[in-house]
Structures are given as C-alpha cells and as structure tokens.
C-alpha cells in the first residue's frame, strides 16, 4: 500500500528557525494522524508545510490531492452560503451541485455569511470537505466552534472518508474527541 504523504526529514525548519524536531510522518490510506501539543508548538506550521503553503526545510513527498481547512475565521461578508460554496468549488475547478445537504446547511444556503454564528461558519468551512473528493484531509482545529451535533457529523464524514481509503492529518488540542485508533504525534513547546 503506497502512502499518501511522507516526510523523511527529522526537522521542519523555516530559515534558521526550528518549527519542530523529530517529526517523520507517513500517512497511509485509512489512517488518521493527530498533531497534538500546546499552543505555539508549531501544529499549524507543520500542516501548512504539508499543504505546500509554507517554505519549510523538509522533504515532503506527496502526490495526493488534498483538502486544506485552515483555522482562520470565515468571511463575515454578505455573500450567501451557496455563493461561498460555489466560489470554493469553482476555485478548485470542480462542478457544484445545488442539491446540497451536509452539516444541516440545506436550510441556510441562502443565508449571508455575516448572519451566521461562529459554529455555523465553521460548518460552512468544513462542508467544503464533501463538495469534492480529496484523498488527504489536512485540518487545522476543525472541531473549533462545533456543537455536539456538528462534531458527530464531522466524525461520521471522517469515518466514511477512511472507509473509502482516505486519510487525514488533524491539528487539535482536544485529541480525545477523535477516533481511538488515531495515532498521536506529540509536538513539544518551544
């Protein structure tokens, strides 16, 4: 079984600045890896490096298409949920299906983003995971702002994704929320 993502180097560097040492990571289909560690331990930096969004001095082998869900808050713009999701799919050059039903968003498709609460905005962001299929998910604090129902939807999606041969790397400060068999990668404080 070939891995979806592999890093061989021992350290993630950013210029002279060490993000983390002793991190070699291999992600195979069906696997979930959790990046855990205190604030400022470099979880987001490692995820960004894996996504190719950060020049890190690390050898990263990945050819798998991926989803990148950042921890940044969604626009508080008057754009509707439908327009936002359609923009995201168009940006990724994927077809958009209007009959859309994940995260309970079907009643809120025409609601402007600036009328949604933090939790609902997080749901909108995560719903990009189901708009088009990607073998690898890179998620930065995906459970932030989600209620119990939202979290259970996310866990169901993750389970289905793994069953279909997908994998995920998740940065989280609540490792207990995630499946028990998910491998934890402890990152140290600086």
């Amino acid at each position: 079984m070939t891995s979806l993502l592999k890093t061989n180097s021992a350290a993630f560097m950013r210029g002279d600045h060490v993000i983390t040492t002793d991190l070699s990571l291999t992600v195979s289909p069906g696997e979930v890896k959790l990046l855990v560690g205190p604030n400022g331990s470099g979880k987001t930096s490692v995820l960004r490096a894996l996504a190719g969004l950060l020049d890190a001095d690390a050898r990263i082998e990945s050819n798998a298409p991926f989803h990148w869900i950042s921890a940044q808050e969604l626009p508080g713009s008057p754009q509707t949920v439908r327009d936002y999701l359609k923009m995201q799919t168009t940006l990724q050059d994927e077809p958009f299906h209007a009959d859309y039903n994940t995260f309970g968003l079907q009643d809120r498709m025409d609601t402007p983003l600036n009328r949604l609460s933090t939790g609902w905005r997080q749901r909108v962001k995560l719903s990009c995971l189901t708009l088009y299929t990607r073998a690898l998910w890179l998620l930065d604090e995906p459970s932030d702002g989600l209620d119990a129902h939202g979290l259970s939807i996310l866990l169901d999606l993750l389970a289905a994704h793994r069953a279909a041969g997908g994998a995920a790397v998740i940065a989280t400060h609540q490792p207990d929320l995630w499946p028990k068999d998910a491998a934890r990668i402890q990152m140290g404080a600086k």
Binding site: L53, L54, W68, Q72, S77, K86, T90, L91, Q92, D93
Partner: protein, 223 residues
C-alpha cells in the same frame, strides 16, 4: 472559461456591491469634484481648462479606495490559501482580482465622468467618448498598479498610506498622458499621441501586474 467568468462576477459583486465600492467611489468622486469647484471659484473658463486634470486626479485617488480589502482581507479569512492552492493558474486569478477592482471603482467613474461635461457646460470643448475611453484605459492601468501594491502590502497593518506611496508615483505616466491627451483634445488639436501612450502604458501594466502580483503573493503566503 465559465468558471473564470463566475469567479470574476463573484468577486466583483462582493467588492462592488457587498462592500459598496461602486457607491463609495462615485460618492467620493462627485463630492471631491464639487469641493474642488467650490474652492477654485466661479470662473467657468478656468474651471473648464483645469477639468481634465481634476477629473484624472480624482479617478486616480478613487482607485486607492478598494485596495486595503483587495487581497488583505482574503489573507485574513484564509481565502488567499485557497487561491494559491487552486489548480487554476495564479496569474489568471490575480488578473480576476485586479479586474474585480477595476469594474467596481475605475469603470463606474469612467461612465459617470462624461456626465460632468454636461453639468459643467464643457461639452463644447471635450468629447464625452474621449473622456470615457481615456478614463476606462487609465483606470485599468491604476487598478493594475493597485494590484501589485496590494500584493506588496499584504500582511502589513494600518497601511493605507503605503498604497498611496506605491501607487501614486507609478501612476504618473498614465496621469500625464491621460489628462494631457484630454487637454490637447480640448484645444482642438487632432493628435492621438498622448492617448496612444496611455493605451500602451495600460496594456503593459495590465499584462505585467497579474504575473508580478502572483509571484509576490506566492512568496508572501509561504513565508
């Protein structure tokens, strides 16, 4: 292709209507013009003579309005990551960003400006079509410079003065040729040299800016 047009429409609608950039630029333009006229005085000959320069300076200043939100907010909301990760060519997406700025600031002003000729009774001197064409090309040039400035200023805070410092000097050629071409037309001289230079500047910057800003954005996102 249809995806490209959709993204342009989406971003232009967000900037132009969602943020009210069209209304802001139009209001700024009309109020600043009125203020200038009040300050200059009631000598209508003088007013008509300085009108080309006045209009062009105000369009240039109005083109600064949308720049702080052009890329900075996308970076804030994580959308810039998605833009960089998109399989679509980044220079093309940057061109769409620049175009969304142009259609929500410069282009509406190019449409309004010929109307000023009627209000100020300058119709006999300046050709409205010439005013529109010059401003449309000129504001495309200003928006292109603005796109580069927005990429350069990315991640800087409280940076409005920086936009002016970057954009205004680079806009001098467009301002000189554009306002100059209109003044010469007002004198009744049939020369298109200034207008041709303006079109050349505009074409050069509109072609260059998407590539330059894509390069800068990619570098900034990864640093």
């Amino acid at each position: 292709m249809s995806g490209t047009i959709y993204l342009l429409a989406c971003w232009a609608r967000r900037a132009g209507l969602g943020d009210g950039l069209i209304a802001q630029s139009a209001m700024f333009f009309i109020l600043a013009l009125t203020t200038s006229v009040l300050a200059i005085g009631s000598d209508s000959n003088l007013l008509i003579q300085v009108l080309p320069g006045l209009i062009w300076v105000l369009v240039l200043l109005a083109s600064l309005l949308g720049l702080p939100d052009l890329l900075n907010r996308d970076a804030h909301e994580g959308l810039l990551d998605d833009i960089v990760l998109s399989p679509r060519p980044l220079p093309l997406l940057m061109a769409l960003k620049g175009a969304s700025h142009w259609v929500s600031t410069g282009l509406p002003l190019a449409v309004i400006a010929p109307g000023i000729l009627y209000v100020m009774d300058a119709r006999h001197m300046y050709d409205p079509v010439y005013v529109f064409a010059g401003l449309a090309a000129g504001s495309l040039y200003f928006s292109s410079i603005g796109l580069i400035a927005a990429a350069l200023v990315l991640q800087a805070r409280r940076s409005f003065a920086l936009y002016a410092v970057i954009v205004l000097p680079l806009a001098f050629p467009g301002l000189i040729f554009g306002a100059g071409a209109l003044t010469i037309q007002g004198m009744g001289i049939a020369s298109h040299t200034g207008f041709s230079f303006l079109l050349a500047c505009s074409a050069a910057f509109a072609t260059l800016a998407p590539f330059a800003s894509a390069w800068i954005v990619r570098m900034k996102v990864r640093s």
